[in-house]
Subunit: 301 residues, 2 copies
């Protein structure tokens, strides 16, 4: 398929779900009617680093690239709007349109519109997705810097499942499809992020690099200490507390919650309470016998 033919096919594959698009594919840039606050993030996945074509079908790669980017909007409490997609396409990728179809599947589930993009040739498959979300007021959004001593620490979902799935895939074992699915088709917690922001959480982050790394970002940006009880970290069967704290690509949300908002937050989104915020600095992971040192989040090769 030639480049122009591919771009024409991509245009046909995309749906406008926003109701805000004035101009999109086919012009030099897309034009959208804005809401008062724009929330924007950009994320890149590289073959051999963030996924492997040997274990990931093109449709799954497209899904994952968009999911990863949307997860950042979820972590702010933003309302996902448009995605802009760039693909570096190696000559040996037979079904480039499948990448777009995978993104469109996810976009359809979340009401997101792929509003623009770029397709270029190159030696290795690289997908970059910039996403824009919207908010009507600054107070609707939550950063990493609001955790305060006395707040509680909670997470959505279960952790470590994606990394367990990745290892199964690499080992060629399809025995636990549920774990493999968590790795292949992560779901950004957009509705959960908005609900938690509305419930008054003080800080929020998505768990892309693993709790042991990402919870540290909240501690650093907020200037506080996060104390997390490893045994309480929710995880699928067969995953150890250490694996749950270090595995990446779960795309669940970690929040800090002022005590007064605890009930509201728990009523809005199923949460597991895993720790507390105190004065000091950094992340302390607590095992049965005290602080566990040396645990780090997942690092890509």
């Amino acid at each position: 398929m030639g480049e122009l033919e591919l771009i024409a096919a991509i245009e046909t594959a995309l749906a406008d779900r926003s109701g805000r698009l004035v101009r999109w594919i086919g012009d030099d840039a897309a034009v959208t009617r804005a809401r008062p606050y724009a929330v924007t993030s950009i994320d890149t996945l590289v073959d051999g680093v963030h996924f492997r074509r040997a274990t990931h079908a093109p449709r799954d790669i497209g899904w994952k690239a968009l999911a990863t980017a949307l997860s950042d909007l979820a972590a702010m409490g933003g309302d996902a709007g448009e995605a802009y997609v760039s693909v570096v396409l190696p000559g040996d990728l037979d079904e480039p349109l499948e990448l777009v179809r995978g993104m469109e599947e996810l976009a359809g589930d979340y009401g997101v519109t792929i509003a623009g993009g770029d397709v270029v040739r190159g030696p290795v498959l690289v997908l970059t997705v910039a996403v824009t979300g919207w908010a009507d007021a600054e107070a609707e959004l939550v950063g990493r810097d609001g955790a305060r001593p006395g707040d509680l620490v909670a997470v959505t979902g279960e952790l470590g499942g994606s990394e367990a799935g990745r290892r199964l895939l690499e080992a060629g074992e399809a025995g636990t499809p549920e774990l493999v699915a968590r790795h292949i088709r992560p779901r950004p917690r957009l509705a959960e992020g908005r609900a938690l922001a509305a419930a008054g959480v003080s800080a929020m982050i998505d768990l892309s690099d693993g709790l042991a790394t990402d919870a540290g970002h909240v501690a650093a940006r907020s200037g506080v200490e996060l104390r997390v009880r490893l045994e309480d970290v929710p995880r699928p069967a067969g995953v150890t507390p250490e694996e749950a704290a270090t595995g990446g690509d779960d795309y669940e949300l970690l929040v800090t919650v002022p005590p007064a908002s605890r009930e509201t937050a728990a009523a809005a989104v199923p949460l597991t309470w895993i720790g507390e915020v105190s004065a000091g600095g950094g992340l302390v992971l607590l095992g049965p016998e005290g602080p566990v040192r040396g645990l780090r989040g997942y690092e890509h090769p």
Copy 2:
């Protein structure tokens, strides 16, 4: 330099020029106060395809990546706002911060803020830049689809200089630094794009792939024929009309102008009038002896 160290250095290298940023580097996503219309584009440059590290210093590569993306905003008449930058960094690039410094040089010249980004490892240097511009009304913006029979065709600046510079660079000849500079440090025509949109041009596009390709996009999207006189295409000394029509990476603007707006447009921005719009379809390049067939814009390797 480690990844976290690099990200910290990047944060230090960036300046907030927008006055609209609420949150930026260090959170999951950047937050900006929006204006009524957002104009967004994404562009990717790959080493060995769009530039070569052998001939382009990291600072120039950074400049070019941002310039390429901003040129799309220029072509809409948008007011450039923020850039979001993703870099795939190979292990042998010694000065990754130089990429950001080159972008910041250009961003400083145009009042643009680099508001977010992603740095990942990979086998080849890839830069992706998503840019957002703003407008207060839809009528401030111009697409590719507004050309009408009877309109005139004009371009800003000179064409073919960047490709001439690229050939000099590849041949190892630094004899004409002015041409080399056009290739290495293109300048997006943001002020010109806004002024031309305000002057009532009917269609506009930036000349990134060469006039022979890009003028065809305007013809196709507008459902008209563009007739361009090759001899009238402005070009630097030593560049032939055919080279001026086919060379890429000039980042000048091509506009179609209703006759009633001709004087206003010419007073707003120096233009060269190179042709007319007529009923029909496609681009016709006219030589001294009639239509010249087979000319195509620059195609990356």
